[in-house]
Each structure stands twice: as structure tokens, then as C-alpha cells.
Symmetry: C2
Subunit: 474 residues, 2 copies
């Protein structure tokens, strides 16, 4: 080989070599420095038993099943409340809703005529991540205040596409839902629910076309991921289904053996599959953590239009396990070790875990209920979460500590007969041995009750209840 | 190259070549001709909801979960009866136990003082396969007659290692099981159950050491597979646990968060893992079909010592779904396509499917209730099974046809209060949409009841009830 045939001088070669090495190093540094992306997929009223991998016989969820096989299936994962508004507040603030005022004994959730929303002084996960350079999107149901100052765009999200409250609100006419449900999917008219669909702070469609809404949410999430792949991002995708009224798009309608409810869950599952595929396509899988869970248990009075909590007791609205334990999957190939995790976790922990991973400081001027789950996710270490407080409105109904759960007050869900009852001696279950909460062992384990009582005393000593933000309506 | 340097003449080369080709062809023919091996792993009183992959939160079954992921998870798979003896008769004969006399309204199962067993004229799957050259082993619980003429070795099995009836029989003393269970695993004494362990027709240990029995059954299965790998084989491994009394060996005792019941299931799962590993080691995976299922639903009155039917209603002893639908997995890498199968199947179909695959003729002198599932297993075609008859003793309580199940009679399990009730108009459920059997839709679907009634008429016209083999005791 003749040196003269080279188009560049040897010194130029050296330059190119350094340039090349420089790029490699800087690219590696970027990869090291760049914090992970987060995708939170949050279903609405999906029960513990409603995914294939959580035991449903006829709801087919191949994408979520695969996600669980490749990732971590968490079987003791809780939400902060058993109804929409407080549960969402808990996830986004990392705090029990009783602290933020997003829990009330007068109104269980926000309505289209509610005056207030999430207080401005509350700090959301989106605000946390935005301050450290994340792009942030809220896609789907918000339900933390529909007035402009309460919307996602005023709570740390760069982008919002979705409905501001539940899909059964703004009912303008038509027959009762249960009657329509009895007549089949074609009797459920989206025109009867005048729910607005918003982009940022503008209403872009009213009523929202709920027949295609699940599909559009997944598409919006994918489009946001593709547009924002050059910065770290948070996508909070809060589907407004399978909360009634149930709607599915043409490709799914009438396809599931579980009926319309199964069609809806299959469409959500399909969206999950497409989101994971998009992450793969963009080469983002290893630096993205995806979590799938639900906001509360199944809405049982709606019969086959409500879901199933599987072997767990009761559902939405209650502090039984069926109300607050959710089918949860974490996924991040190469980072999160495939496993079944039976340790405790909570949606409130996402605030703490994702803030830390993202490089945001955890606020120290308030009580944060979330704990950092990253050592469990990445190294399968024991979860730092050892307890769970089950509030209904602003009353503490039950407390779990380790395997034991003590019920101080019990009460049935909406429309289901089980009167509120206070228990002088709490009912005690070992919920790992007895997940269906059937066998009271209070007499055999007074020491467990003592430890739980001590925990409650400590908890209540520090508790400052926020001003009720749900009660006032116009 | 010099021809002279060759140690053999050209003609010898040709000879070697033909020899080599001959071996290839004959080996390929052998592979083609050699029918598949079958391993049936049958748990006792394991509920529909008791495996991780069927939704249990704290029973860890990593091997069965993986088996389901690699194979087919069947979610509408039934046994022929909701208690031990008739369920086992159904599996082995491919016939409803009411036909063989292995069902009775006087005694639900066989006891140590029962006079009879499976009638000699019944043809078992083992007899079918033995006549076409299979090696056949029964390992574990038999429960089809403990007298010599009724034992496995007189019913087509070359080899038997196990207990002849349930592990809670021959109770010789000690406290009531429920009392012992309340005091914990150490209070459950295997000495209180004088159950014999047999090899072929000899008692080799009495009482059977139940602490190590699960482990020994799995080891026996592996040892039999290794010894008999040169012929096609059938291994029927019928664990006698998690039927009470519960026992687990040292490596498992006290390890599960689900308590002793979870320990027991974990040990069965461990055995499954070891059996699959042994099949891999011997290069037998592609020519072996493994099925895992259970004999009936969970024995609920034993509280945490009984299992869970998950979202299905009731358990063992009943004709509700929890009594007769079982967590079922088929596995044969490369042959069985991974899938979740929601079509109907039954343990009775193993008789027909495995007989056909093994090359044995289906008897034509009697009614066989099994159907051939192989097109579903290998090509994911629709299952030919469209219905299921739910007998309790010799009475037909319920019938499933497609999605619909009609209950003509309902009744609770042992020890659980739900009186026998005959329904002039049957209760009707869509068990795919409503797997928990909660919402009677008889009024809305008279056509489904009509079709089921026609099926019952047809069924009963052909039904010859066998002589009751369970009633007589000595």
C-alpha cells in the first residue's frame, strides 16, 4: 500500500481517530448520564384478576403476558385509594390523598361541577421530572380538576391529550347504563356522555368519540415517544377504560369471549404491545421503564361490565384487597430482572423511585409516602415498603404491616350491601396466606395487632389532613 | 490423492456410503414411527387459582409458569368428577364415571375398607398404550381399588410406586386435622395416617413417609423415564398432595409466603422442573407430551390448608366451576405451539388423544367420552370438545354447551352450607363472560336452555349406568 494514495495526511488520520474515539466516549457518557424514560400505563377500574397472566380464563392479553414474562410481575402492589380521583392524586404526588385534600368523606371523586382540583402546592411526578429536563406528557383521563389551573399543563405536563374526568360523567340522556348493558354493546351510545376530549387546555371534540379513544391514546403515546426520544421523557398514559360505559373500536368489538369488557381490555393490551414495539424500534427499551397497573379494583355492581378481582375480596370503593391491590407489571429488558415480586409496592412509590432515577430531589418540606423501589427492580433486593394504609375518604379503615392486615372499619362498595362497621378489636388477616381475607386470626395474633396499633399511632401523630378539595360543587 | 493409499477398495466405500445412508433413513424412520411419550402430572385437590400463572399472588411456581409460557395454558379444562375416585377413573378410561360404576350416591370415593375397584372390563389408557408397545408406570396415588386385582399392575401399568388411596385415610389417632392445622406444620404427624406405600403389589413402607413423598414421586418418575427411554413410555404421576394432611420436605417446609399449602405446591413445582430438565437431558423433549393438571378443585373447608379456585365459584365436591375446572398446561417444545387455549378440554380426552397418537385403536364396543385434542395441541385448531357433563355421584347436576352452562341441581361441597336444590328452570350462566357464575341469564336465553335440554335427552338416551362399585364396604 502506498502512503501517497491516501487522500489525507497521517496527521489527519490521527485527528480522525481521536474524533472517532471522542464520539465513542461522549456517546457512552451520554448513555450513562442520560436518565431513564418512564412510561406509566394506568388502566381504569381494571381488576386484579383481569389479565391472562393474573389468572383470567377468557380475557386474552398476550402483550401484557409477555411483558410480565420478560419483566417483573408484582402481586402485592397497591394504589393509594380505591376510587379514581384520590388514587390518581396518590400516584402523581407520592402522598396519601388524605394529606393533599384529594380525599373526602362528602364526595368520593371530582365531578364536572366540582369547584376545585389538585392544590397548586402539591408537587407532581411530572413537575419533579420537568425540572431535571424531562419532556412530560399526560395522555388519557386526568380527574384531578377540569378547570384550567388544575389541568395537566399546569401540573408539570408539557402536553395533554385526554378527558378531564370520568367517561360516565356529563350524562345527557339515554337509558340507564345497566339497562343499556343488558341490551348489548350497540345500545351503549357515546352520544349520551357529553365528555370533552382536550388537547392541552382546549376542547377538541365533544362528546369524545369513545369508540376509538383507547386506540387514539396508545397512538398519542407512541407519537409522543417518537417526537421526544432525544430528551428523557415521562409518558403518563391513563386509559379511561375499562371504566363504564364500555366502548371498543371495530377491530376489537365483539371479539373477546369475555364479552365487551374483554374487548376493551384486549384493545388496551394491543396498545401496550404497540408501545413496547415502538420503544424497541427506537432503540429505547433498555433506557425506558414501563409500568402497567390500574387505578383501583373492579366496579362490581356493573356485573359483566365490571371486572374481576380474581381471588381477592370485593372491589372498587372498598378497602378490601380487591379494591386496592392491582395487577402490576414493570418492564425494562436488560435492566429489570424477570421475576415474580411478592413484596409490597405502591403507585406512590413511582414518585420516589422515578424522581430519584431521574435525578430530581425528593421534597423535604412535606411527608412523602413513596419509597424507592429501584433496588427491588434492578437487583431483586427486598422492597423497602413494609406497610400500606387503606383509607376510605379521610378515614383510616385498614392497615397492612408485612403479612398482616388489620381492618378497623369495614364497609361494602357502592351499591353492594355491607354496612359500615367499626371493629373494637380489629379483624386480622394474613393476606399472604389468606389473600381472599376469609379467616380472622385476631385472637391468635394479638402481637400483630399491637404492632399495627403502634404503627397507626405513629402515623396519626404526624398526619396533617389537607383541606377537602372534593366536597365543593357549583 | 493415490487410490492405493486407501485402506479399503472403492467398492467398500460404496458399501460404507450405503450403510451410512441406510442408518440415516432407518433412524429417520424410527423417529417418524416412534410414537410420542406421555407424562401426565396430576395434582390432588389443587385449585384453579393455585399456580402463579393462573393468578396466585404468593404461591411461587416458576417451573409451571415457564412450562405454560413455552406450552399451552388451557383455561377451560375439566375433570370428569369433582372428587378423587371418579375423577381418576374418568382420566384413565376416557369415560364419565357414571358409565363405569366408579360414581355413587352412597359413597363418594373408595375407602380402605371398600370391597371393589375399577371393573376389569374397563380399559385404561395404560392398557391401550401397553398393547402398542409402551412402557407404562403409575407413580403416586391410585384410588381405584387397593385390592390386588384392582391395583395399577392389573390395569395396564408395568410399574407402580405409590399409595393406594388418599393420604388422609387409615387415620390411627392423633388430633383432628383442623386442630392440628391451627397449631402449625409441626403438629401434623405423618404417624397418624397409616397409609401404605407400595411398589407394584407389595407394601414397602407403612405409614408412608409423607414428609418426603412428593420428592420421591418426582424422582421415581425421572428414574423411570431414564430407564425406559428406548421404548415409548407413559408415566402417570399422580401426586397425593396438596390433599390434606399437608407435608413438605425440609428444603420446602416453611419457605412459602402462602404457608404450608404453598410449600407443598412449590415442591410439586420443583419436581415438574426436574422432570422437564431430565427430558431435555435425555433429548426427549420433542417426542414427549407433558400435561399438568389436577383431579378436582380445592378442599375449601380446610381454610388455608385447602387451595383456591381463584375467580371460580366454590370447590371440590361441587359441580360449580371451582369443583371441576382445573389449571392445565400442555408442553412439548417444537410440537405444541405456545398459546392460551380457551376452548374446552377434559382429562377424558387424554385417553382418546394419547391412544390415537400412540397408535392404539379406540374401543368401539362402549361409549368413550374423550375426544381427540391433537389438532388443537399441534395446529391450534378449534377443539372438538363442545360440551361437558357435570355429574355428582350418578346424578347429572349441570351441563355446559359452548359458552353456556345450565345447572339443573345445585349443592354445596362437603361441610359447606348450600342445600341441594333442584331447579325447574335451570340456572343459566355464560361461563366465558361470567366465569364466577354470578349472573343467571336463563330468562334472556331460553334458546340456550333448549339446546342444552336436547343434548341432555340425547345423552341420557344412550346412557347405561354401570353397577355401583363404590358403595360396598367390608
Amino acid at each position: 500500500m502506498n502512503a501517497k494514495s491516501l487522500p489525507l495526511k497521517p496527521s489527519s488520520h490521527l485527528y480522525l481517530l481521536f474524533l472517532f474515539l471522542g464520539i465513542c466516549v461522549s456517546s457512552a457518557q451520554n448513555n450513562q448520564k442520560r436518565p431513564p424514560n418512564f412510561v406509566i400505563i394506568f388502566a381504569d377500574d381494571l381488576g386484579y384478576g383481569d389479565l391472562g397472566v393474573f389468572g383470567h380464563p377468557t380475557i386474552k392479553t398476550p402483550n401484557l403476558d409477555r411483558m410480565a414474562h420478560e419483566g417483573q410481575k408484582w402481586t402485592n402492589f397497591y394504589v393509594g385509594a380505591s376510587v379514581c380521583t384520590p388514587s390518581r392524586a396518590a400516584l402523581l404526588t407520592g402522598r396519601l390523598p388524605v394529606r393533599s385534600g384529594m380525599a373526602s368523606n362528602k364526595q368520593r371523586v371530582l365531578f364536572p361541577d366540582s369547584k376545585n382540583g389538585l392544590p397548586a402546592e402539591e408537587i407532581t411526578l411530572a413537575e419533579q421530572l420537568k425540572q431535571v429536563g424531562y419532556s412530560t406528557a399526560c395522555i388519557g383521563k386526568w380527574h384531578l380538576g377540569h378547570k384550567k389551573q388544575y389541568l395537566p399543563t399546569n401540573n408539570g405536563f408539557d402536553y395533554y391529550f385526554g378527558i378531564p374526568y370520568s367517561n360516565d360523567m356529563d350524562k345527557t340522556g339515554g337509558q340507564d347504563y345497566k339497562e343499556a348493558a343488558n341490551q348489548g354493546a350497540s345500545a351503549i351510545r357515546m352520544e349520551d356522555y357529553n365528555v370533552p376530549l382536550m388537547r392541552n387546555t382546549e376542547i377538541i371534540e365533544r362528546p369524545a368519540d369513545q369508540n376509538t379513544i383507547t386506540k387514539r391514546y396508545s397512538e398519542e403515546a407512541i407519537s409522543y415517544i417518537k417526537k421526544n426520544k432525544d430528551t428523557p421523557f415521562l409518558v403518563y398514559l391513563a386509559h379511561n377504560l375499562p371504566h363504564i360505559p364500555l366502548f371498543a373500536s371495530k377491530g376489537f368489538l365483539g371479539k373477546s369471549e369475555r364479552g365487551l369488557y374483554g374487548d376493551v381490555v384486549a384493545e388496551i393490551d394491543d396498545g401496550v404491545g404497540k408501545i413496547l414495539a415502538a420503544l424497541k424500534e427506537e432503540g429505547l427499551t433498555e433506557n425506558t421503564i414501563v409500568i402497567f397497573t390500574s387505578d383501583n379494583g373492579p366496579w362490581l355492581p356493573f356485573k359483566t361490565h365490571g371486572g374481576s378481582a380474581g381471588l381477592l375480596r370485593a372491589g372498587k370503593g372498598t378497602t378490601w384487597e380487591g379494591g386496592m391491590r392491582e395487577p402490576t407489571i414493570f418492564w425494562s429488558p436488560g435492566k429489570i430482572k424477570p421475576a415474580v415480586i411478592t413484596d409490597l409496592g405502591s403507585t406512590m412509590d413511582l414518585f420516589t423511585t422515578f424522581s430519584k432515577l431521574g435525578g430530581a430531589k425528593i421534597p423535604d418540606d412535606r411527608v412523602i409516602d413513596g419509597v424507592d423501589l429501584s433496588a427491588t427492580l434492578f437487583e431483586q433486593q427486598e422492597s423497602p415498603r413494609k406497610n400500606m394504609f387503606y383509607y376510605r375518604g379521610t378515614d383510616l379503615y385498614a392497615v397492612r404491616l408485612g403479612d398482616y392486615k388489620a381492618h378497623f372499619i369495614t364497609e361494602g362498595a357502592y351499591g353492594q350491601f355491607e354496612e359500615r362497621q367499626e371493629h373494637a378489636t380489629p379483624i386480622l388477616y394474613n393476606v399472604n396466606e389468606d389473600p381472599s381475607e376469609q379467616f380472622d386470626i385476631a385472637k391468635e395474633h394479638p402481637e400483630a395487632i399491637e404492632r399495627i396499633n403502634a404503627l397507626v399511632t405513629e402515623h396519626q401523630a404526624k398526619l396533617v389532613k389537607g383541606k377537602d378539595m372534593l366536597a365543593e360543587r357549583e
